[in-house]
Structure formats: C-alpha cells, structure tokens
Symmetry: C2
C-alpha cells in the first residue's frame, strides 16, 4: 500500500472507501459507466418542474436514493415569468460551484489537507438580445462565467490553490461547460 492509500477519513470524506472504489474501478472499468436522468413537466408559462432520482452506475440501477428531488424553474417577473423558481441558467451556476467544491473536498482528503471552510460565488453574464431574437450577433447563452472561491484549511496558500487546480482538472461540469457536449433532442407528439 502506498502512503496515499493509508490516508484516514477527513473533511467528511471516507478516504479509505474512496481509494477502494478507485481500485475496484481500475479492476473493472465498466463499473465507471453511469447514466444520470431527469424528468421535467411543464406547469404553466415558463414555470416547470424537474424530478431527479434514479440513475444507473457501477453496473446496476441505484437504490440508495429513496426520495425524489424536485426542482422548480421559472423566469422572473421582469422576463414575464412568475419567479416560482430560479431561471434554468442559474442552475448551471449551482452545478459548477457544486462540482468544483465536491471535487475539492475529495482531493483535499486524498492529500491529507484538512479544510475549514470553502465557499464560492458564481456570476454569469448574459445578454438577452440573443434569446429574445433581437440580435444574430449575440449568443443565446452566457458570455462568461466567473467562480470566486474562498478557502481556508490547514495548508499553505499554494497547497490550497492546488486543490482547486486539481478539482478543475477533473470536474465533469467544468468540462461540459467549457468544452460543450452533444445534445440530441427528440420529440414525440400526442
């Protein structure tokens, strides 16, 4: 066993199990294939609701999540919605913050760095001339996203910064947002 593998649990991360999971996947790479899912139902106007629960991974359908996670989305009043939830694009900001933060905690545990606090603010700039159809030169989506982390932990500044670097290097959401992903849309009418 390497030194790394003998790291104890830290930051709420079960580090031994994390490394055991890595070893298991090394031995059976097909365990790494996952499919995540969401369902969505239109309610009224720009208000709709998604449900998230089941997924397939590690060779089987997950049974550990025993309740649905439900999320409303809507446009705010200024965009002619009813504000019953955040806008869809705001969930992208949540996703990037959450992904980088989860990775950061795992990496800190793997490196033996005790974290005290991790918080972040995310900003996304968007010019709605695109989605409003008022300009063909303005993109529909964000023009840029900024993530600002505040981190404290038992390590020098450069070590803490290195945790963020590694989290970014292995972040699923960062990859999708910065590199894009193919999105196929199918329609069934009734």
């Amino acid at each position: 066993m390497t030194t790394t593998k003998t790291r104890p649990a830290l930051n709420g991360v079960d580090t031994p199990t994390l490394f055991a999971t890595l070893d298991a996947v090394k031995g059976s790479p097909e365990l790494a294939k996952f499919q995540f899912r969401a369902t969505n139902r239109w309610i009224s106007g720009t208000h709709n609701r998604s449900t998230i629960r089941g997924f397939h991974g590690a060779g089987q359908e997950d049974t550990s999540r025993t309740e649905d996670f439900d999320y409303d989305a809507d446009h705010p009043a200024v965009l002619v919605g009813t504000g019953k939830g955040p806008t869809p694009v705001e969930f992208l900001l949540h996703a990037i913050a959450a992904c980088l933060t989860a990775g950061l905690a795992n990496i800190a545990a793997a490196r033996g760095v005790r974290l005290h606090e991790v918080s972040s603010t995310v900003e996304g700039d968007i010019d709605l001339l695109g989605i409003l159809g008022l300009s063909d030169e303005v993109r529909n989506g964000y023009q840029g996203i900024r993530v600002n982390f505040q981190i404290s932990g038992d390590a020098p500044e450069e070590t803490l910064r290195g945790l963020v670097d590694q989290s970014r290097a292995r972040s699923a959401v960062y990859d999708v947002l910065t590199n894009g992903v193919p999105v196929a849309i199918n329609v069934e009418t009734r």
Copy 2:
C-alpha cells in the same frame, strides 16, 4: 400592430407583456444585459449547498424574488457521498429540460398554439474513468445528452415539432451546453 402582437395570453404566458418587453428591449438594448449569480457553501465531504436569489437585469437589481432558493448537491453512496442531493451533473439535465420547456411555452403562446401537456426525460451518459483520473482518453463530462419531449397541443404534429426547433434555436442552456462558455476561476485563501 402586427397580427402577432395582438395575440392574447395563452399557456399561462402573458403574451401582450412578452411582446411589450421585446419592444422595450428593442428600444433600449442595454436592458438586455443580465448577470445571474449563485453562492455555494461546502458542508461536509461531497455535500454542499447553493443559494440563488439576486440578479441584475433590465438596468437594475431584481427585487421581485423575495426568498432564497437553496439547493443541496452531493455524490451518491456508490460514489462515496451521502446522497443528500443530486450530483452536480444532474442539475445540468434539469437546466436543459427547464430552458427548452420555458422557451417552448413562450413560443407556443406567441404563435397562438394552445399546449395541453409538455413533459420530457433527459439522459446523460458519463464514463467516470475521466473524473476518477483512471484514463486520460475519457473526458470528464457527459459524452452525450438526450432530451426526449412528449408534447400535446392544439396544433398539427409539424407545428408542435416546430416549437421545439425554435426553442432550441433560442435556448441559453442549449447554447452553453453544446457550444461551451469560458469559465474563470479565482481563489482567495484565508
């Protein structure tokens, strides 16, 4: 006034106000510049929580959303988390479904199409060999996302399909997911 502009409210969409908003932005394009935000705080392990509320747009700070929207994210047990929320990547699936659905309802109202039901399922395939650091040839993020819509409304099939086409053509989340966006990350240590 054009015929389009005299469309009445439909599908829960205040169509006259929607067109008035478009006219206002045409006259003052700077109103279209928005900044959305989220804050996130690490809780323990892969569990963290984002808060969404304020945004800037239409020339001012929004005051219409008077309560915070809070969202937990976590990894599931099989990924050594505690499942206190969906994974960050699942929120991307919610975001794309919500964005396309909100746009669809607006476009249907603008075109005078009464919708009965709109639902969708979204699937994202991801091979975790990337984020686990076990392969440099596998990307960290989704390899592909599929959105499957079921739509019923008072219009022929091709008209209903056309609503989805136009929604996709003006979707902020679809643009970000398929084309990517620059993400800057800054770190402040304490």
